[in-house]
Symmetry: C2
Subunit: 432 residues, 2 copies
């Protein structure tokens, strides 16, 4: 890591490394010291402004006034837990469930996507009386022990517990199946995973899947995959848990939830990051009858989960998504941006694939279009080149060669043009 | 559960039960619909005000203006994650570590006590290359799979994984050792737990202990116990993890942390509930050298953990504890309250034991002082009787016969008198 630009930052960096320790990581060769956020813009300590195409947590824009105001108003009035009655958590539950299929009719609140997935797995294991978890390769679902165990991006095969089995994420650009039958072929791997678990005497409790996989490189499953996968998982006695932490809340423009692309209704769905626009808020949504077995055995209490302030933040986020038409904005601006990037691919051979929908897009960078060899070094060069030009992105995927474009949902066509110009310049300047 | 008092609440209750499902529980025979909080007071929908002796999360008082203001100011300026530099998280880390022994020199932030304990156990397992966890009976440490597994209050022996072993919490009033050697005798159970793990081929990674156990009935270990326990755990290769979620931040008046009562320095300590006065904020504090093995294997990222708003809330809480002298207030008011309750025990034979320090007190209710038979029904009657008289408390402990007194730290001697009068009346009115 090179030295940061100012003396203040050098001190801050040294103190941070000393006090927070070596498990904390920073973005960029020269880390950014950000001090202010507004809409799609982030401002650093020396006053320079960056266009943010990275952060999906500030879903309705950094420091969106309506959300800030809702938090302030409620924090000044009451912030307590769910063992007293309060209308906020009930109103928010009703509003959120109204955006989901009828069968997904009960919601439980927590603070992080990790906690939402923990609760989903605990319920699935209780309902199925099984402990096996099938998950996709190079998945990321959170940071607790159980969720790190199934986060195959971070936990290599030799460190996975016996109850974890994997299937390839259905990637038709780089994956092992790319033909018309890919959806069915990928889903069939679930049978193999079930068989491998059975050989160890373990029954599957759940198939956990990102309905669009960010960690795999922003990969959308081929049409039909989630339906085929759900059928095979359920045939083996497992539940389908759809992790909507990344694709949910209208990001793809086409649908409010990722699973809607396939007209499948998961047994449980989990959500987090964008729900509270940065306020810690997450949820596990589940068919009511699945909860009965769980609730007979144990209650669920989460000290901060579903408190009146969190619920106020969640309600304000839904208000802004609706009042600003942000799902439609994602569709329109995202389509424009994707089309423009596709045009750039005529000039730049390094653009191997442009994929995604709405404001959840990816540029897969290659050293050669035929072989699709990942251009990992180029991707890193571009991330830093874009940063020098005032644009924040990052790489993702098993080869870290994919540029991930996932801005706040208030991103405009003008913002897209700003990115496109910087991106073209950065590509031109990149060493061949 | 009897019907709530108003039609509005009946509707709210029905909607809540339908939308949040059966795993959510409410306090009281007639649940409270709280709408406003201020200091030690909570106000319900019909305007009635209750003195809060239950809630420890609003540590510096419900809706404490300085904390609300800090949250609002920072939420309007920037709320992002720890992969950029920001001074709040570093300033807060420095401030917090300054309140801890020198050896506990590195802090990692998360959102809940569950997450803090998850991280502690992941680090302990990595460092020791072992997986066994020794924990006290009737412990509560959180709600994720791993932490529920070791939360022996909720998970009965037949459902505990093979890596969990228990020791009795050192309770000298109701426990199996009550003599002068109790501290050593209780600590010796750790050797037995290690042996039982060894018989299953499992090495111990950690002994996890509340330095004061709320779930056991607000029980303080006898002097020396934590030292003896640490020595035995370490001799077996395990780390000592002190869970300070309940006793931390000056609540006992005597010390800022529970473990300081015994002059022991844990290898890892975890904290949560009161840190952000209700804003989701938690931390795992660890000796730096223990982190190196963990960080070599994996980074740790928590989307919302340590964000600038959480850190601002944490800093404001520390400011108020200091400016208001709240640790000293806890000592003074707590000593006054405890002495007055002890005097009441001359009038009321049901008061079997009064224990605790500062604003973390317990009244152990008995049917007979000699046999110490728990007065569970009386405890429930008193909780509802106190509520009718405008005072909020609750029961705790394996027999639910202990009244837990754990108010916000701004609790005054006047507030204590209000409680004492209501308590004496409720005792007088209770059926013999």
């Amino acid at each position: 890591m090179t030295a940061p630009t100012t003396k203040v930052d050098a001190t801050l960096l040294e103190r941070r490394q000393r006090l927070l320790g070596p498990a904390y990581r920073l973005f960029y060769d020269e880390p950014l010291h950000i001090v202010r956020g507004e809409g799609v813009w982030l401002t650093v300590a020396d006053g320079r402004r960056y266009l943010d195409l990275y952060n999906n947590v500030p879903h309705v824009g950094h420091c969106r006034p309506e959300v800030v105001e809702a938090i302030c108003r409620q924090a000044a009035e009451l912030n307590t837990h769910t063992r007293y009655l309060h209308s906020n958590v009930v109103d928010y539950a009703e509003r959120l469930l109204g955006l989901l299929p009828d069968d997904l009719n009960t919601v439980m609140f927590s603070c992080t996507g990790t906690e939402a997935n923990e609760l989903a797995l605990r319920i699935a294991r209780e309902v199925t009386n099984a402990r096996g978890i099938i998950v996709t390769e190079f998945a990321y679902h959170g940071n607790s022990q159980l969720i790190a165990d199934i986060s195959t991006e971070d936990t290599p095969p030799e460190r996975r517990p016996d109850y974890v089995e994997t299937v390839p994420f259905p990637d038709c650009y780089r994956g092992i199946h790319r033909d018309e039958d890919a959806a069915e072929r990928y889903a069939a791997h679930i049978d193999d995973a079930v068989a491998r678990l059975a050989a160890r005497g373990i029954k599957p409790a759940a198939f956990v899947v990102d309905t669009i996989s960010s960690s795999s490189g922003v990969v959308e499953p081929p049409a039909g995959y989630l339906q085929f996968a759900a059928a095979r998982a359920r045939a083996a006695g497992a539940l389908l848990i759809a992790d909507e932490v990344q694709p949910g809340f209208g990001r793809t423009g086409r649908h409010f939830w990722g699973f809607e692309a396939d007209k499948v209704v998961p047994d449980i769905t989990t959500m987090g990051k964008p729900m509270g626009n940065g306020h810690p808020l997450a949820a596990t949504v589940v068919r009511r009858e699945l909860l009965d077995a769980f609730a007979k055995r144990t209650g669920y209490f989460n000290t901060f989960g579903g408190n009146p302030v969190s619920a106020a933040a969640g309600l304000a986020v839904l208000d802004v998504i609706e009042s600003d038409g942000l799902q439609k904005n994602a569709l329109q601006v995202g389509s424009y941006l994707r089309a423009k990037i596709e045009s750039l691919s005529e000039r730049f051979a390094a653009i191997g694939d442009v994929r995604g929908h709405g404001l959840f897009l990816a540029i897969d960078l290659v050293r050669d279009r035929q072989s699709r060899e990942p251009a990992t070094a180029l991707a890193r060069t571009l991330v830093n080149g874009l940063k020098e030009r005032g644009v924040l992105t990052n790489t993702i995927g098993p080869h870290a060669n994919v540029l991930k474009l996932r801005p706040p949902m208030v991103f405009s066509a003008d913002n897209a043009d700003t990115f496109l110009q910087a991106f073209a310049e950065a590509l031109e300047d990149a060493p061949a």
